[in-house]
Amino acid sequence: MAEITLNNVSKSFGAVTVIDNVSLTVGAGELVVFLGPSGSGKSTLLRMIAGLETIDSGTLTIGGKESQNLAPGQRNVAMVFQNYALYPHMTVRENMAFGLKNIRMPASEIDKRVNDAARILEMDALLDRRPSQLSGGQRQRVAIGRAIVKEPAAFLFDEPLSNLDAALRVRTRVELSELHQRMKSTMIYVTHDQTEAMTLGDRIVILNNCKIEQIGTPMEVYTYPAACFVAGFIGSPAMNFLKVQMSGSGEKAVATLGDGSRVAIPVAVPEAGRYELGIRPEAVRVTDGSGDTTGDARVVEHLGDRTLVYVILKDGTQITAQDTGRSTVAPGDRLALLFDWSHLRVCDELCRDCHVQ
């Protein structure tokens, strides 16, 4: 298992820059998730590591070896494609053996590896079938099996769950996690789904607009988002952003919300003025009695374990609040909201961060 390092890597297609001076390190045995919306460059970055796209400038090191000029097959990485890319005219066994045959591995060794992988993935019965005879989930296993037999330094996953239905996606996610724990291999996983990122990743690399916004563990990224984009992207439903006027500072800081309510928030701000508060829905609770502000419930969503209430304040500000699973709130109710300030982000108007508790 190897460490992978990208150093000041950039790439352009003609005049368009698609990766801009990116540096990161994936530790040996780590599962790192590249997370970001479409067009953020996450897939391109993965393909650059795999060798399917060239690296215009910067270096790539895999297991200590400089690799940016090596052919894809020579980099000792294996990739699981989004659409599996199984060879339709070959059986499962032939699909898995193909790469090993090309490097002239002895047949006995190939057989051993194929059978071992089939056992790990519980596909022994499928070895002589063709891809067209398999279900989506089975095909995905074959794609993973093809990667396993290579015994690579690292596994690269390109949105592997996006073609599966919801129930299968959850099951497979758990299986992938188990696989990682069992094999202790370096894995890089690309997705746009922040739930997958949060559940699978040892660390998450958040990409936006061809740049890295933040790198951190799931909890770090959730609790201490380094940028507005990250704050809004991680967590579902998204973080609330409230425009407030701050006066005072430290213990005596007071925030005035859009609808005029004044709330005491102990946070150190450089000077009084307009700021933006970021607060997650689970920190905005519906209370009986008086709260920090009041508003009207617009839409109520019962999720079973919790209830999401979309509230509109007097001045038109929209806040997503959370109540217990057995909430009796109905659309149109007037509600009192209480803010839990223990996890809060304050940034100035231009979204430059100044304080996170």
């Binding site: 000029n69 090596l70 052919a71 020579q74």
Partner: protein, 280 residues
């Protein structure tokens, strides 16, 4: 692999690309050579060394062909017969294809099987009987005589039937509920929805008919009724052994269809791929 090896792989790719382009040029060279030769005066054409561009660029052969020979008449014959074949084939195939696709009538299936089976029949074997038939009908040396046997083109009706099959049934049902007659459903719904196919098939049928040799060759003995494709090979006394002149006549004959292709490349490609799909 070192950076040199990576560069070597890129070089191999570039070499293949260059080779492909080179082959394309060599492939098309005879056409270029034919055109260039037609622009040289006769004495230059027969020079023993290779001149890729005329020493003296001249249009005299084209002028001669257009004014001193029957090429003008041949053009008219070609246009008339090709247009005739196209209109008749496309329209009858469209109507019949619609009927087979959308309507229920006795012998519908056997008719379709018969048309499919006729694919396997080589029309060249029918030349004798076509000749006899046209002779008996007094249609030799007429446009009708040239047109009629060329109307065997089962591809067109089969493509129409397949495309009409794919039109969602809702359209027809809505139209029927609106008391539309079958004719207006065909002309106002199905035909406009498949306009692309009609264009593609028409262009390809036109080109095919323009290029036809065997039947127009047999059907016509009088030089003034010949199509241009036949005429340029038959009438040698007007041209004698004048190579450049003959080539200019060939260029004049091939120019319209080449132009049609260059203008309608996508349609031609589409029609050909469709017709092959049927045969497969």
């Amino acid at each position: 692999m070192t950076p040199e090896t990576a560069r070597r792989v890129n070089l191999a790719g570039a070499a293949i690309t260059t080779f492909t382009v080179f082959c394309a040029i060599v492939w098309a060279f005879p056409i270029y050579w034919g055109i260039v030769s037609s622009l040289k005066p006769e004495d230059e054409v027969v020079r023993p060394y290779i001149e890729l561009w005329p020493d003296t660029l001249t249009f005299q052969h084209y002028w001669f062909a257009l004014t001193q020979t029957q090429i003008g008449t041949w053009y008219i014959n070609s246009i008339a017969t090709a247009v005739g074949v196209t209109i008749l084939t496309v329209s009858t195939s469209m109507f019949a294809g619609y009927a087979i696709s959308q309507l229920r009538f006795p012998f519908r299936k056997p008719l379709y099987w018969l048309i499919l089976a006729s694919f396997m029949v080589p029309t060249q074997v029918l030349i004798v009987n076509h000749f006899v038939l046209m002779a008996n009908m007094g249609l030799l040396n007429t446009w009708a005589g040239i047109i009629l046997p060329q109307l065997i083109h089962p591809v067109v009706i089969i493509v129409y039937k397949q495309f009409f099959d794919q039109v969602p049934k809702d359209f027809r049902e809505a139209a029927v509920m609106d008391n539309a007659s079958e004719f207006s459903i065909l002309l106002k719904v199905y035909m406009p929805m498949n306009w692309g196919v009609t264009t593609a098939l028409s262009i390809v049928t036109f080109i095919w008919s323009w290029n036809a040799f065997l039947w127009p060759f047999l059907a016509v003995t009088k030089t003034e009724m010949m199509t241009i494709t036949v005429g340029i090979t038959q009438v040698n006394d007007a041209f004698g052994v004048y190579y450049a002149r003959q080539l200019s006549a060939a260029v004049l004959a091939g120019f319209p269809v080449a132009l049609a292709y260059l203008l309608f490349q996508r349609r031609v490609t589409q029609a050909i791929t469709l017709s092959a799909g049927i045969k497969g």
